[in-house]
Point group: C2
Protein backbone atom coordinates (compact mmCIF):
# COMPACT_ATOMS: atom_id res chain seq x y z
CA UNK A 1 0.00 0.00 0.00
CA UNK A 2 1.36 3.41 -1.01
CA UNK A 3 1.80 5.98 1.73
CA UNK A 4 -0.67 8.83 1.70
CA UNK A 5 1.72 11.52 0.48
CA UNK A 6 2.93 9.41 -2.45
CA UNK A 7 -0.62 8.52 -3.45
CA UNK A 8 -1.66 12.18 -3.18
CA UNK A 9 1.19 13.18 -5.50
CA UNK A 10 0.14 10.46 -7.95
CA UNK A 11 -3.60 11.16 -7.96
CA UNK A 12 -3.92 14.87 -7.25
CA UNK A 13 -5.89 17.17 -9.52
CA UNK A 14 -4.45 20.66 -9.79
CA UNK A 15 -6.52 23.84 -9.96
CA UNK A 16 -6.25 25.66 -13.29
CA UNK A 17 -9.13 28.14 -13.33
CA UNK A 18 -12.55 28.85 -11.82
CA UNK A 19 -15.88 29.86 -13.31
CA UNK A 20 -18.49 31.23 -10.90
CA UNK A 21 -21.84 29.57 -11.68
CA UNK A 22 -24.23 30.61 -8.90
CA UNK A 23 -23.96 32.18 -5.47
CA UNK A 24 -27.31 31.67 -3.78
CA UNK A 25 -28.77 31.68 -0.30
CA UNK A 26 -27.28 28.27 0.54
CA UNK A 27 -25.57 26.88 -2.56
CA UNK A 28 -22.41 28.48 -3.97
CA UNK A 29 -21.62 26.59 -7.15
CA UNK A 30 -18.39 26.89 -9.14
CA UNK A 31 -16.98 25.02 -12.12
CA UNK A 32 -13.22 24.55 -11.88
CA UNK A 33 -10.89 23.41 -14.61
CA UNK A 34 -8.30 21.00 -13.20
CA UNK A 35 -5.21 19.22 -14.52
CA UNK A 36 -5.57 15.42 -14.15
CA UNK A 37 -2.79 12.99 -13.19
CA UNK A 38 -2.41 11.97 -16.87
CA UNK A 39 -1.89 15.60 -17.97
CA UNK A 40 -5.35 16.03 -19.49
CA UNK A 41 -7.72 18.66 -18.16
CA UNK A 42 -11.24 18.14 -16.82
CA UNK A 43 -13.96 20.23 -15.20
CA UNK A 44 -15.12 19.77 -11.61
CA UNK A 45 -18.47 21.13 -10.50
CA UNK A 46 -18.25 21.91 -6.79
CA UNK A 47 -20.81 23.31 -4.35
CA UNK A 48 -18.67 25.27 -1.89
CA UNK A 49 -19.78 25.05 1.74
CA UNK A 50 -18.68 26.82 4.92
CA UNK A 51 -19.16 23.75 7.12
CA UNK A 52 -21.81 22.38 9.44
CA UNK A 53 -22.41 20.50 12.67
CA UNK A 54 -24.72 17.82 13.99
CA UNK A 55 -25.37 16.70 17.56
CA UNK A 56 -26.52 13.41 19.13
CA UNK A 57 -28.16 14.75 22.33
CA UNK A 58 -28.39 11.88 24.84
CA UNK A 59 -30.45 12.28 28.04
CA UNK A 60 -29.48 10.79 31.41
CA UNK A 61 -32.04 8.04 30.67
CA UNK A 62 -30.27 7.09 27.43
CA UNK A 63 -32.79 8.73 25.13
CA UNK A 64 -31.98 10.77 22.01
CA UNK A 65 -33.58 14.16 21.26
CA UNK A 66 -34.70 13.68 17.64
CA UNK A 67 -36.36 15.99 15.12
CA UNK A 68 -38.94 15.43 12.45
CA UNK A 69 -38.57 17.93 9.67
CA UNK A 70 -39.97 18.39 6.17
CA UNK A 71 -37.29 18.08 3.49
CA UNK A 72 -38.32 19.65 0.21
CA UNK A 73 -35.93 17.72 -2.11
CA UNK A 74 -37.65 14.47 -1.03
CA UNK A 75 -41.15 15.91 -0.36
CA UNK A 76 -41.31 14.03 2.92
CA UNK A 77 -40.95 14.40 6.67
CA UNK A 78 -37.64 12.91 7.84
CA UNK A 79 -36.15 11.88 11.18
CA UNK A 80 -32.89 13.70 11.90
CA UNK A 81 -30.68 14.70 14.78
CA UNK A 82 -30.23 18.45 15.47
CA UNK A 83 -27.88 20.03 12.94
CA UNK A 84 -27.08 23.25 11.16
CA UNK A 85 -24.68 25.24 9.07
CA UNK A 86 -21.92 27.45 10.41
CA UNK A 87 -22.82 31.11 10.10
CA UNK A 88 -20.95 33.09 7.42
CA UNK A 89 -17.40 33.65 8.70
CA UNK A 90 -17.94 31.35 11.69
CA UNK A 91 -15.10 28.87 12.34
CA UNK A 92 -15.90 27.45 15.79
CA UNK A 93 -17.81 24.21 15.23
CA UNK A 94 -18.46 23.64 18.92
CA UNK A 95 -20.14 27.04 19.32
CA UNK A 96 -22.29 26.26 16.28
CA UNK A 97 -23.25 22.88 17.78
CA UNK A 98 -24.32 24.55 21.05
CA UNK A 99 -26.36 27.14 19.14
CA UNK A 100 -28.11 24.67 16.85
CA UNK A 101 -29.00 22.33 19.72
CA UNK A 102 -30.42 25.20 21.76
CA UNK A 103 -32.29 26.91 18.92
CA UNK A 104 -33.79 23.77 17.40
CA UNK A 105 -34.65 21.79 20.56
CA UNK A 106 -34.34 24.20 23.50
CA UNK A 107 -31.75 21.96 25.18
CA UNK A 108 -28.37 23.00 26.53
CA UNK A 109 -25.71 20.45 27.48
CA UNK A 110 -23.00 20.21 30.15
CA UNK A 111 -20.68 18.16 27.97
CA UNK A 112 -19.94 17.95 24.24
CA UNK A 113 -17.83 15.08 22.89
CA UNK A 114 -16.45 15.40 19.33
CA UNK A 115 -16.98 12.10 17.48
CA UNK A 116 -15.55 12.87 14.05
CA UNK A 117 -16.16 14.43 10.65
CA UNK A 118 -18.77 13.52 8.05
CA UNK A 119 -18.31 14.44 4.38
CA UNK A 120 -21.83 14.10 2.89
CA UNK A 121 -20.94 14.03 -0.80
CA UNK A 122 -17.18 14.45 -1.34
CA UNK A 123 -17.29 14.34 -5.15
CA UNK A 124 -19.36 17.51 -5.55
CA UNK A 125 -19.82 19.20 -2.16
CA UNK A 126 -17.12 20.66 0.11
CA UNK A 127 -19.37 20.39 3.19
CA UNK A 128 -17.70 18.95 6.31
CA UNK A 129 -20.08 18.19 9.19
CA UNK A 130 -18.48 17.98 12.64
CA UNK A 131 -20.36 15.43 14.77
CA UNK A 132 -20.83 15.71 18.55
CA UNK A 133 -22.48 13.79 21.37
CA UNK A 134 -24.10 16.11 23.92
CA UNK A 135 -24.80 14.89 27.48
CA UNK A 136 -25.92 16.48 30.75
CA UNK A 137 -28.94 17.97 28.99
CA UNK A 138 -31.19 20.71 30.38
CA UNK A 139 -34.46 21.73 28.75
CA UNK A 140 -35.16 25.35 27.83
CA UNK A 141 -37.12 27.04 25.02
CA UNK A 142 -36.86 26.50 21.28
CA UNK A 143 -35.80 29.49 19.15
CA UNK A 144 -36.40 28.52 15.52
CA UNK A 145 -35.52 30.53 12.42
CA UNK A 146 -38.51 32.22 10.84
CA UNK A 147 -38.74 29.68 7.99
CA UNK A 148 -37.87 26.64 10.14
CA UNK A 149 -40.63 24.22 11.15
CA UNK A 150 -39.87 21.02 13.02
CA UNK A 151 -41.14 18.69 15.71
CA UNK A 152 -38.91 17.56 18.59
CA UNK A 153 -39.36 13.95 19.80
CA UNK A 154 -37.42 12.05 22.46
CA UNK A 155 -36.82 8.35 21.69
CA UNK A 156 -34.84 5.59 23.42
CA UNK A 157 -31.40 5.15 21.83
CA UNK A 158 -32.12 1.48 21.05
CA UNK A 159 -35.25 2.52 19.19
CA UNK A 160 -33.29 5.04 17.09
CA UNK A 161 -30.67 2.39 16.22
CA UNK A 162 -33.49 0.00 15.29
CA UNK A 163 -35.02 2.68 13.02
CA UNK A 164 -31.63 3.09 11.33
CA UNK A 165 -31.18 -0.64 10.79
CA UNK A 166 -34.76 -1.08 9.52
CA UNK A 167 -34.32 1.74 6.99
CA UNK A 168 -36.84 4.13 8.54
CA UNK A 169 -34.12 6.73 9.18
CA UNK A 170 -32.53 7.62 5.85
CA UNK A 171 -30.64 10.84 6.67
CA UNK A 172 -26.91 10.22 6.24
CA UNK A 173 -25.46 12.24 9.13
CA UNK A 174 -28.07 10.82 11.53
CA UNK A 175 -27.24 7.23 10.59
CA UNK A 176 -23.49 7.78 10.94
CA UNK A 177 -23.52 9.89 14.12
CA UNK A 178 -25.93 7.66 16.07
CA UNK A 179 -24.17 4.39 15.13
CA UNK A 180 -20.79 5.99 15.86
CA UNK A 181 -22.03 7.19 19.27
CA UNK A 182 -23.28 3.66 19.99
CA UNK A 183 -20.02 1.94 18.96
CA UNK A 184 -17.66 4.57 20.46
CA UNK A 185 -19.40 5.07 23.77
CA UNK A 186 -20.54 1.46 24.18
CA UNK A 187 -24.18 2.59 24.56
Amino acid sequence: MKDEKALYEELKETFVSREEIFDGYIVHLVRDTVALPNGATATREVALHNGAVCVVPITDKGEIIMERQFRYPFDRVMWEIPAGKLDPGETDHLEAAKRELREETGYTAEKYTFIGEFFPSPAILSENIHMYVATGLKKGDQDLDEDEFLEVITLPMDKVVEMILSGEITDGKTQTAVMKAKLLLGL
Copy 2:
Protein backbone atom coordinates in the same frame (compact mmCIF):
# COMPACT_ATOMS: atom_id res chain seq x y z
CA MET B 1 -46.30 12.01 18.61
CA LYS B 2 -48.23 12.95 15.46
CA ASP B 3 -48.64 10.33 12.79
CA GLU B 4 -46.57 10.81 9.67
CA LYS B 5 -49.42 11.82 7.37
CA ALA B 6 -50.71 14.48 9.79
CA LEU B 7 -47.20 15.89 10.29
CA TYR B 8 -46.62 15.92 6.53
CA GLU B 9 -49.83 17.88 6.02
CA GLU B 10 -48.75 20.33 8.74
CA LEU B 11 -45.15 20.84 7.60
CA LYS B 12 -45.23 20.35 3.83
CA GLU B 13 -43.85 22.97 1.46
CA THR B 14 -45.74 23.20 -1.80
CA PHE B 15 -44.13 23.79 -5.19
CA VAL B 16 -45.03 27.15 -6.75
CA SER B 17 -42.52 27.67 -9.57
CA ARG B 18 -39.04 26.63 -10.76
CA GLU B 19 -36.08 28.58 -12.08
CA GLU B 20 -33.39 26.60 -13.92
CA ILE B 21 -29.98 27.71 -12.60
CA PHE B 22 -27.43 25.31 -14.08
CA ASP B 23 -27.47 21.95 -15.84
CA GLY B 24 -23.91 20.68 -15.81
CA TYR B 25 -22.03 17.42 -16.22
CA ILE B 26 -22.98 16.25 -12.72
CA VAL B 27 -24.86 19.04 -10.95
CA HIS B 28 -28.35 20.09 -12.06
CA LEU B 29 -29.28 23.06 -9.89
CA VAL B 30 -32.72 24.62 -9.68
CA ARG B 31 -34.27 27.31 -7.49
CA ASP B 32 -37.87 26.58 -6.60
CA THR B 33 -40.34 28.94 -5.01
CA VAL B 34 -42.42 27.11 -2.40
CA ALA B 35 -45.39 27.92 -0.17
CA LEU B 36 -44.52 27.43 3.52
CA PRO B 37 -46.83 26.02 6.21
CA ASN B 38 -47.50 29.57 7.48
CA GLY B 39 -48.61 30.74 4.01
CA ALA B 40 -45.46 32.73 3.25
CA THR B 41 -43.29 31.83 0.29
CA ALA B 42 -39.59 30.93 0.29
CA THR B 43 -36.99 29.77 -2.21
CA ARG B 44 -35.37 26.33 -2.10
CA GLU B 45 -32.08 25.72 -3.92
CA VAL B 46 -31.95 22.05 -4.88
CA ALA B 47 -29.33 20.04 -6.72
CA LEU B 48 -31.37 17.40 -8.56
CA HIS B 49 -29.82 13.94 -8.70
CA ASN B 50 -30.76 10.74 -10.52
CA GLY B 51 -29.62 8.48 -7.68
CA ALA B 52 -26.58 6.45 -6.78
CA VAL B 53 -25.36 3.23 -5.18
CA CYS B 54 -22.59 2.09 -2.87
CA VAL B 55 -21.37 -1.40 -2.06
CA VAL B 56 -19.65 -2.96 0.97
CA PRO B 57 -17.83 -5.86 -0.74
CA ILE B 58 -16.92 -8.46 1.93
CA THR B 59 -14.57 -11.36 1.08
CA ASP B 60 -14.92 -14.90 2.48
CA LYS B 61 -12.14 -13.96 4.93
CA GLY B 62 -14.14 -11.01 6.29
CA GLU B 63 -12.15 -8.32 4.49
CA ILE B 64 -13.59 -5.25 2.75
CA ILE B 65 -12.53 -4.15 -0.74
CA MET B 66 -11.79 -0.45 -0.18
CA GLU B 67 -10.75 2.36 -2.51
CA ARG B 68 -8.46 5.32 -2.10
CA GLN B 69 -9.47 8.14 -4.38
CA PHE B 70 -8.56 11.81 -4.79
CA ARG B 71 -11.49 14.11 -4.00
CA TYR B 72 -11.07 17.55 -5.48
CA PRO B 73 -13.46 19.47 -3.13
CA PHE B 74 -11.22 18.46 -0.20
CA ASP B 75 -7.86 18.32 -2.07
CA ARG B 76 -7.08 15.00 -0.45
CA VAL B 77 -7.03 11.25 -0.98
CA MET B 78 -9.97 9.61 0.82
CA TRP B 79 -10.90 6.06 1.81
CA GLU B 80 -14.25 5.02 0.37
CA ILE B 81 -16.23 1.93 -0.54
CA PRO B 82 -17.07 1.38 -4.25
CA ALA B 83 -19.88 3.64 -5.38
CA GLY B 84 -21.28 5.46 -8.35
CA LYS B 85 -24.16 7.30 -9.93
CA LEU B 86 -26.99 5.72 -11.86
CA ASP B 87 -26.60 6.32 -15.60
CA PRO B 88 -29.02 8.82 -17.17
CA GLY B 89 -32.43 7.14 -17.37
CA GLU B 90 -31.26 4.13 -15.34
CA THR B 91 -33.67 3.02 -12.59
CA ASP B 92 -32.28 -0.36 -11.47
CA HIS B 93 -30.05 0.30 -8.45
CA LEU B 94 -28.88 -3.32 -8.18
CA GLU B 95 -27.62 -3.34 -11.78
CA ALA B 96 -25.77 -0.08 -11.09
CA ALA B 97 -24.23 -1.60 -7.94
CA LYS B 98 -22.99 -4.63 -9.92
CA ARG B 99 -21.54 -2.39 -12.63
CA GLU B 100 -19.77 0.01 -10.25
CA LEU B 101 -18.25 -2.83 -8.20
CA ARG B 102 -16.98 -4.56 -11.34
CA GLU B 103 -15.68 -1.43 -13.09
CA GLU B 104 -13.99 0.12 -10.06
CA THR B 105 -12.53 -2.97 -8.39
CA GLY B 106 -12.77 -5.82 -10.92
CA TYR B 107 -14.84 -7.90 -8.49
CA THR B 108 -18.14 -9.63 -9.21
CA ALA B 109 -20.32 -11.02 -6.41
CA GLU B 110 -22.63 -14.04 -6.02
CA LYS B 111 -24.92 -12.24 -3.57
CA TYR B 112 -26.08 -8.65 -3.06
CA THR B 113 -27.97 -7.71 0.12
CA PHE B 114 -29.78 -4.35 0.20
CA ILE B 115 -29.06 -2.59 3.51
CA GLY B 116 -30.98 0.66 3.11
CA GLU B 117 -30.99 4.17 1.72
CA PHE B 118 -28.60 7.04 2.47
CA PHE B 119 -29.61 10.66 1.83
CA PRO B 120 -26.27 12.56 1.83
CA SER B 121 -27.59 16.10 2.24
CA PRO B 122 -31.40 16.17 2.31
CA ALA B 123 -31.74 19.97 2.63
CA ILE B 124 -30.16 20.76 -0.75
CA LEU B 125 -29.50 17.54 -2.67
CA SER B 126 -32.09 15.02 -3.93
CA GLU B 127 -29.48 12.24 -4.13
CA ASN B 128 -30.56 8.87 -2.70
CA ILE B 129 -27.77 6.29 -2.40
CA HIS B 130 -28.90 2.65 -2.19
CA MET B 131 -26.48 0.66 -0.04
CA TYR B 132 -25.61 -3.01 -0.60
CA VAL B 133 -23.40 -5.68 0.94
CA ALA B 134 -21.79 -7.90 -1.71
CA THR B 135 -20.52 -11.39 -0.80
CA GLY B 136 -19.23 -14.42 -2.69
CA LEU B 137 -16.66 -12.22 -4.43
CA LYS B 138 -14.61 -13.21 -7.51
CA LYS B 139 -11.72 -11.12 -8.80
CA GLY B 140 -11.60 -9.94 -12.42
CA ASP B 141 -10.21 -6.86 -14.17
CA GLN B 142 -10.87 -3.20 -13.37
CA ASP B 143 -12.52 -1.09 -16.09
CA LEU B 144 -12.25 2.54 -14.99
CA ASP B 145 -13.74 5.58 -16.69
CA GLU B 146 -11.20 7.64 -18.63
CA ASP B 147 -10.98 10.33 -15.95
CA GLU B 148 -11.21 7.97 -12.96
CA PHE B 149 -8.06 7.21 -10.97
CA LEU B 150 -8.19 5.12 -7.81
CA GLU B 151 -6.32 2.50 -5.82
CA VAL B 152 -8.04 -0.68 -4.58
CA ILE B 153 -6.97 -1.99 -1.15
CA THR B 154 -8.33 -4.96 0.81
CA LEU B 155 -8.55 -4.44 4.59
CA PRO B 156 -9.95 -6.54 7.46
CA MET B 157 -13.47 -5.41 8.41
CA ASP B 158 -12.37 -4.72 12.01
CA LYS B 159 -9.63 -2.43 10.70
CA VAL B 160 -12.15 -0.47 8.58
CA VAL B 161 -14.49 -0.06 11.57
CA GLU B 162 -11.52 1.11 13.66
CA MET B 163 -10.64 3.69 10.95
CA ILE B 164 -14.23 4.95 11.06
CA LEU B 165 -14.27 5.26 14.85
CA SER B 166 -10.83 6.96 14.92
CA GLY B 167 -11.92 9.53 12.32
CA GLU B 168 -9.56 8.41 9.54
CA ILE B 169 -12.49 7.55 7.27
CA THR B 170 -14.57 10.70 6.79
CA ASP B 171 -16.73 9.78 3.79
CA GLY B 172 -20.37 9.70 4.88
CA LYS B 173 -21.73 6.75 2.87
CA THR B 174 -18.68 4.64 3.82
CA GLN B 175 -19.17 5.30 7.53
CA THR B 176 -22.88 4.51 7.41
CA ALA B 177 -22.74 1.46 5.12
CA VAL B 178 -19.86 -0.28 6.93
CA MET B 179 -21.29 0.30 10.44
CA LYS B 180 -24.73 -0.79 9.22
CA ALA B 181 -23.24 -3.95 7.68
CA LYS B 182 -21.49 -4.67 10.98
CA LEU B 183 -24.60 -4.14 13.13
CA LEU B 184 -27.08 -5.81 10.72
CA LEU B 185 -25.03 -8.86 9.83
CA GLY B 186 -23.39 -9.28 13.23
CA LEU B 187 -19.91 -9.13 11.66
